[in-house]
Symmetry: C2
Subunit: 658 residues, 2 copies
């Protein structure tokens, strides 16, 4: 289903899409061009220009000597920041990808709302990017500028194939939006070049990406162009990964495999088909699993499907925060061991939750099951939207479930946890990832098979399938009433609607489903106009974690439908750890049009428990003999987790004491 054919009319999601369109995309363009005062320069467009300039000099045969590569660190900064040299590379080794993520978001934006000025800016930028490409198709400015002699010699740590992946995804989106294929051709040329250099043949490199994404991008390129070489290359990357002898150790003989702390970081410790547990860098992992799901589905590869299911279960049954956040430790931005889900030192990177959505969406292609779409919805409404401020101007990379600002400022163990959103990041993956996801949200809400339209997420939208006009109205996440109006001139169509697991008493009217399977109700659409009304009552409730999650023992999270709530200091004063909720009283709802339309706040009954402090000092005044507690009744006001940290700095807590 093409994004162009889905018109999002939803109040909630349209707001987010507009925010990306009006705030994030323009701001990001300024960032890419180092024009934001106070923000660290990106050097992204600078690098494309520098590579283009070198290409020109080379062609003209003057002022040019082939550079000899020397490693200068993963981030290169100009010696004199006020005067970057026009022919040098700056920034992180993967800086090119910032443009590719931007152009992808631009593509999706243009699909739903044409904007000639934006398109012109994009076309001009594409011209620069394409002039940076080498004659043989290679396109990574880091090596073009610093020396091609060593390209593809550090697949583990450098990001040439990562940049290829994002280039492909950006190029396809822009092509689909505008029909313009200049960037797509560049992407194909680079992919063709990689195909010549890496693969199973004897004279090729037998490696794979250190940061996965090319796998799913190449699959998409194959779907877009029909060129089977891209499918083959994607399959090669998937199946070569983790085969003995392990490529990354061949590439890096200086690394001792037996004591390598990054053994699992790249998910390359074992062939992916044999992996059971989600490990290593969380973003890398879910990007890999997404590609595995693509190939498993396309090739009807049962072994790979099983691996995908196992890895899905490993994440969602043992390693996922209730917010849909994944990656419990900042060490390697990685999954921790099962049930280790600390709230205050969580990593839970916005990008990782976005990658989880990618994975979920692809699993739904294999088989529609609400276990995938429930998680997709959970991640979207919580751990992903928490990544962007309501005004669209600042972002979270890390999405903790518990914050005491003083600890973030003063305790090095929490230095990665920011109590307020940041303007931008040197390593700017999350904001553009948010941009491209939100701009293409329709692709996640709906999918289709030949005879069926699947509704995975509830949002107001108009679309057409098999000649049937479909109009969906929804108020989510405000309330759970959904209507699906169809106008069918006489075709055959099934609509399958997810009934979320959080809803224990759905009521359906207007039509009866002919079957319910894996959480989806299947409706035959009559040859006329019809309306199906689905009411999914969103009753606030309390949720507890598996008892093996030590951090959450004796605590509950408050939820309403797929929305997870949190307490903030702004509403409840400091020392949130003293609050206890009364789970016998159903939380009260409080509806407001601020900061989002129809925002539902909750008020739970509870108490504040403090030590009486009447005991005598024990050794020092820091400790006192216990003299009982003072309990004070207190209503606790909760806000949707996605909205935390929009009112300045303060404490925040998702799991509250019972």
């Amino acid at each position: 289903m093409n994004l162009k054919d889905i018109k999002i009319t939803d109040r909630f999601w349209s707001g987010k899409i507009e925010l990306i369109r009006n705030e994030v995309i323009p701001y990001q363009w300024e960032i890419l061009n180092d024009r934001v005062p106070g923000a660290a320069p990106s050097y992204c467009m600078h690098n494309f220009r520098a590579a283009a300039e070198l290409n020109r000099r080379k062609k003209e045969g003057r002022d040019y000597t082939e550079p000899v590569y020397t490693f200068r660190g993963f981030e290169t900064l100009p010696e004199d920041p006020s005067d970057p040299k026009e022919d040098e590379f700056y920034g992180f080794v993967f800086q090119d990808s910032d443009f590719y993520k931007w152009i992808e978001a631009v593509g999706y934006s243009l699909m739903t709302k044409p904007d000639p000025i934006l398109e012109k800016t994009a076309d001009e930028a594409i011209d620069i990017v394409c002039s940076a490409q080498a004659d043989d198709g290679y396109l990574d400015t880091y090596y073009i500028i610093n020396g091609r002699d060593r390209c593809f010699t550090n697949l583990r740590d450098h990001h040439e194939l990562y940049c290829l992946g994002h280039l492909i995804e950006g190029a396809i989106a822009y092509f689909e939006a505008t029909g313009k294929d200049k960037l797509l051709i560049a992407a194909r040329r680079y992919a063709d070049h990689v195909f010549e250099r890496i693969g199973p043949e004897k004279d090729k490199i037998h490696g794979y990406p250190g940061h996965e994404i090319a796998e799913m991008a190449l699959f998409k390129l194959y779907r877009t162009t029909g060129d089977i070489r891209y499918l083959k290359l994607s399959e090669y990357f998937i199946d070569e990964r983790g085969k003995e002898p392990l490529y990354f150790y061949l590439e890096h003989p200086e690394t001792d495999a037996s004591s390598d702390p990054f053994k699992y970081y790249h998910q390359s410790h074992l062939p992916v088909r044999y992996q059971d547990e989600a490990v290593g860098h969380a973003v890398r992992a879910v990007y890999l699993y997404s590609a595995m799901a693509d190939l498993a589905h396309h090739n009807n590869d049962e072994e790979l499907k099983s691996a995908c299911e196992r890895l899905w279960d490993s994440i969602t049954s043992e390693k996922m925060y209730i917010t849909g956040g994944i990656g419990a430790t900042h060490i390697g931005e990685s999954f921790s061991f099962p049930y280790d889900l600390p709230n205050d030192t969580a990593y839970a990177e916005t990008c990782a939750s976005i990658g989880l959505v990618f994975f979920a969406r692809r699993m739904l292609e294999i088989r529609p099951d609400r276990k995938f779409s429930d998680v997709m919805e959970l991640a979207l409404f919580n751990g992903i939207l928490s990544g962007i401020a309501v005004d669209g101007k600042s972002f979270f990379y890390v999405n903790p479930l518990e914050v005491i600002p003083e600890a973030c400022h003063k305790d090095g163990r929490k230095a990665h946890v920011k109590p307020v959103r940041q303007k931008w990041f040197g390593c700017a993956c999350c904001p553009p990832n948010l941009a491209r996801l939100i701009q293409s949200i329709g692709k996640y809400a709906f999918s289709e098979t030949e005879d069926t339209l699947f509704i995975h997420l509830f949002m107001g939208a108009e679309l057409k399938k098999n000649g049937v006009d479909i109009r969906i109205d929804s108020n989510m996440p405000g309330s759970g009433k959904v209507t699906i109006k169809t106008n069918n001139p006489g075709n055959s169509l099934t609509i399958a609607v997810r009934i979320p697991s959080w809803c224990t008493c759905p009521s359906i009217s207007g039509s009866d489903p002919f079957k319910t399977e894996n959480g989806y109700m299947y409706f035959d659409i009559p040859h006329s106009t019809s309306t199906i009304t689905i009411d999914l009552p969103m009753i606030p409730g309390f949720v507890c974690a598996d008892p093996r999650v030590t951090e959450d023992k004796g605590k509950v999270a408050v939820i309403r439908g797929p929305v997870v709530y949190c307490a903030e200091e702004a509403d409840n004063g400091p020392s949130l750890a003293s609050l206890h909720v009364d789970t016998s009283v159903i939380p009260e709802e409080e509806i407001s049009d601020e900061p989002e339309s129809e925002t539902v706040f909750l008020r739970v009954h509870g108490k504040k428990v403090t030590d009486s402090r009447e005991g005598s000092d024990y050794v020092s005044k820091l400790y006192k003999t216990f003299s009982g507690t003072i309990e004070e009744e207190k209503d606790i006001r909760l806000i949707p987790y996605r909205l935390w940290a929009n009112r300045g700095e303060g404490e925040m807590r998702v799991f509250l004491n019972v």
Copy 2:
């Protein structure tokens, strides 16, 4: 009061002293000589031999060229571990200090129990160490072997003055024990050399130690020799520290002061007299404060006394675990911010608590106040003795208050926390520090002024003061009954006895104190035989932390006198986080002669609380709607914290849920 004049007859402490004498000192000697199979070589004696060999060659004028220094890292290991070169330096830059700590413990051991074989070994080792000394008195094998041209150019990171400090302390102990002054002369020569190189004069280096200890050692050397230069040098180190321009930044222009993460690490950010908060590396800090207290007392320096009091209060009122552990973060092995005392990621290094005892003991010289001695006792019975196994064969560096072994093994954030004691450490500071403290415990129990004997800690002992024979009997930490028998031929003597703050109902018989001040009762000793009986009932109780200690909210620790208790998995099964104690029932005592004589275990009434898990899944099976809890009555068995981890690996917890 000379250690030789204190005869420890105490059952508990004699056992510990014997353990050090019979287990730790001989084992450590083997370690120093790289003769323990399976343990990482120390290279300590190797380095002294290598330096001695180079000195010999230099004198003989053959096979010797003056080495030119090149930095090769803080730890140098042989290229071929099976064949270390006889003229190279190996191990950490501060490796010499291992011998000095050993000889200090040997000295104390010989004071209380002669051992001609041990003394012969020590004499031979001292011969080697002294032949390593350079002609000009310099004695640090790292630079003697690697090149003297750069000595004293990295006071911040290298440990030449740290080694000087430990050399002095070891030499004095050995001299006091045996009367042999060979090592003491070597220590003086090195101190004299430093005096010539560092100091306020224009042509000298205006620096100070990166790791404090020389300050207190030089003061001790002044007290031992009467040579005022050592006092001056100690004072210089104290007063120069933290003066602008900061020496460590002059020494290291490559370090940017404005972004230096180690700004507070060395306590050199501000002149020590103006410091209010205990910061940075905890061991370094308390070693510095100890020297400050020495000088403040000796010079009757009121400003310095005030600084000591402020820093004492900063530690004990805001930054000390209930076990007497200090240093809440492994990042820089440092103090964290006030009230940040996480139980599971604690650093609480054994050495830091030992240093806190050094500091406390010196504050007691300034003014006797139980606020100092109470902490000294608390640290000894908990966070220090926890550092050594009951069999004396393994050691903790880090002393956490909560352990889940799986997390220590799998979570990099807790990699510093070991769930079982280790045989030895590459950086072997804690075991020898334990050895020297325990072997000299009598110095901490008692102090004197002209007319008064102070009893700070309760332990069986025989000593003489002003011609009065004093015999103390005590059963601590088994019970709190103390008798003090005196036989006074007719002299004037006051005995001042600490009444611990943990004891709310002491009873005294046999004599009445003529005054009570700052927690000490002062008794006139009659001209005859007399007995003072002091009963300090040790009633088990519950203690809570200041409410600003977030980690301990809703929790209590169980104590009995100065002994802090903990729950272990071995007694209570796993999932200690599910246990809740009933604070309304006084814990029952259970006395056993294992593993230490008269060990008191406790049994507290409580319950085990688990979620009913009857709710339905919320999005994934990791989360369920809350359906209440199941409470099961349960007696919880507690053991003294110092005895944890003597029965294999398992969970442990000090602070328990109420």
